[in-house]
Symmetry: C2
Subunit: 93 residues, 2 copies
């Protein structure tokens, strides 16, 4: 997983989760940790989700896709906090 682009890894795991793959939940915890370590912010994660969903959903409804756009906007303030937190933590080391 290490060298694959984040989006591809996320998309493949999301597809498995949607298809009820029983191991996908457990793997999502590890992927969440990995993204964390690599500095993927909460708003980056929502943006990645939207991209991945567009790739795997056969016929996503317009309302739902647009709603995720809204979630991305709502999350952008959290991205700022997240980066500030990474800085505070690295200063504490």
């Amino acid at each position: 997983m290490e060298d694959e682009p984040h989006l591809a890894v996320y998309r493949d795991l999301l597809a498995r989760y949607v298809a009820q793959d029983s191991e996908a939940t457990e793997e999502s915890e590890r992927l969440s940790e990995l993204f964390h370590e690599r500095g993927v912010s909460p708003d980056d994660l929502v943006a990645m989700h939207l991209d991945a969903l567009k790739q795997i959903a056969v016929n996503p409804d317009r309302v739902t896709l647009r709603s995720i756009d809204f979630l991305m906007k709502m999350m952008s303030g959290y991205g700022h906090d997240y980066r500030e937190h990474q800085e505070l933590k690295s200063r504490q080391k």
Copy 2:
């Protein structure tokens, strides 16, 4: 807005955004700040989004709804970081 439950406010603004209300984007910035001040974490926000979407989408597709479940799981690690950050900030005051 102050006294309304978060979900109702979020749902109404989301519905307006989805319906292309031109003022909804600007208002989403203020709501994002308000949620921030009130300690709504990133994973809380995704959970709220899923609840709101179920209320406003007439016929959401199953894949998309389940995908947001996955996003919620992915975001849960960020919730921990967020709460830690709030603590660090309050200690700095």
